[in-house]
């Protein structure tokens, strides 16, 4: 195996393991920590895909900002163990898992059937500045300027909405 493949397997196992930890752990705080672990491994996968800027963004925004928000709310609510709850294995849940397995099959088969799925990735074929700040910023400010501004409006709406929803009395 090439070093690239070794790192891919390592990061993939980490990402899947972290996500499974979110699903399986009993305490929500453990779920949050597992999710942070999963995000770090995903950032490693982005580096393997030469998406350097997105890898940094993943750690800064996801593992940094969003997860701090989650952990903050978990600490704020201070759940007692009676409120955690762990359901029994019901028919509905089995149906849910079966449905999810079917959707995984459909997703994987449709994506693996795409024309680029067999494309082999290696470092030599990637343009020099691929995935760094400069080309992304240039495209964001020219070709994708409207979505970029819409994202800023969306974040503004998010800020105002969070204040309006969470405040007891305005």
């Amino acid at each position: 195996m090439t070093p690239e493949a070794v790192f891919f397997v390592l990061f993939a196992l980490g990402a899947v393991g972290g996500s499974a930890g979110v699903l399986l752990s009993r305490q929500p705080i453990n779920s949050a920590i597992s999710l942070v672990v999963s995000f770090f491994f995903l950032a490693g996968l982005y580096v393997l895909l030469s998406a350097h800027f997105l890898a940094v963004l993943q750690i800064l925004v996801y593992a940094g900002a969003i997860m701090v928000l989650f952990v903050f709310v978990l600490m704020l609510l201070n759940l007692r163990s009676g409120e955690l709850g762990r359901g029994k294995l019901t028919v509905t849940r089995l149906l849910g898992v079966g449905f999810a397995g079917a959707s995984c099959y459909v997703l994987a088969s449709s994506m693996l059937g795409s024309s680029v799925a067999g494309t082999r990735l290696w470092g030599g074929s990637v343009p020099a500045q691929f995935g760094t700040v400069r080309p992304l910023g240039l495209r964001l400010m020219t070709e994708y300027v409207l979505p970029f501004e819409m994202a800023s409006v969306l974040l503004l709406v998010g800020i105002v909405g969070a204040v309006v929803v969470a405040k007891r009395r305005l």
């Binding site: 996968l45 925004v61 969003i66 397995g101 997703l107 994506m111 494309t119």
Partner: protein, 102 residues
């Protein structure tokens, strides 16, 4: 020189998306539900970046960038709603949210 096919990344993305979907269907704690939604968004991001690398086109990175912005807004508002729900009925079980039914 043997290297990784894009298909591996796509398969991993499908597996991560499925884990997130199972979480949304199986777990009952509202905050853990939100975390599972984040996993699904990340799976979509991974597929975007993998396709972007396969085509040598940074458009997919910009899509992933937008997804991260949407996820941030969603987490902010969603957690505000969760705080309100917790104040209202002293728990985070989504099964207990049946106010509209009565």
């Amino acid at each position: 020189m043997m290297t990784i096919p894009v298909g591996w990344y796509l398969a991993l993305s499908a597996v991560l998306f499925t884990i997130g979907a199972v979480g949304v269907l199986v777990r009952r704690n509202a905050i853990v539900l939100f975390m599972c939604v984040e996993i699904m968004l990340n799976a979509a991001n991974l597929a975007f970046v993998a396709f972007s690398r396969a085509h040598n086109d940074t458009g997919g990175h910009l899509f992933a960038f937008m997804v991260i912005a949407v996820a941030a807004a969603e987490a902010g508002i969603g957690l505000a709603i969760i705080v309100n729900v917790f104040r209202h009925n002293r728990g985070l079980e989504v099964d207990g949210l049946n106010l509209m039914r009565h």
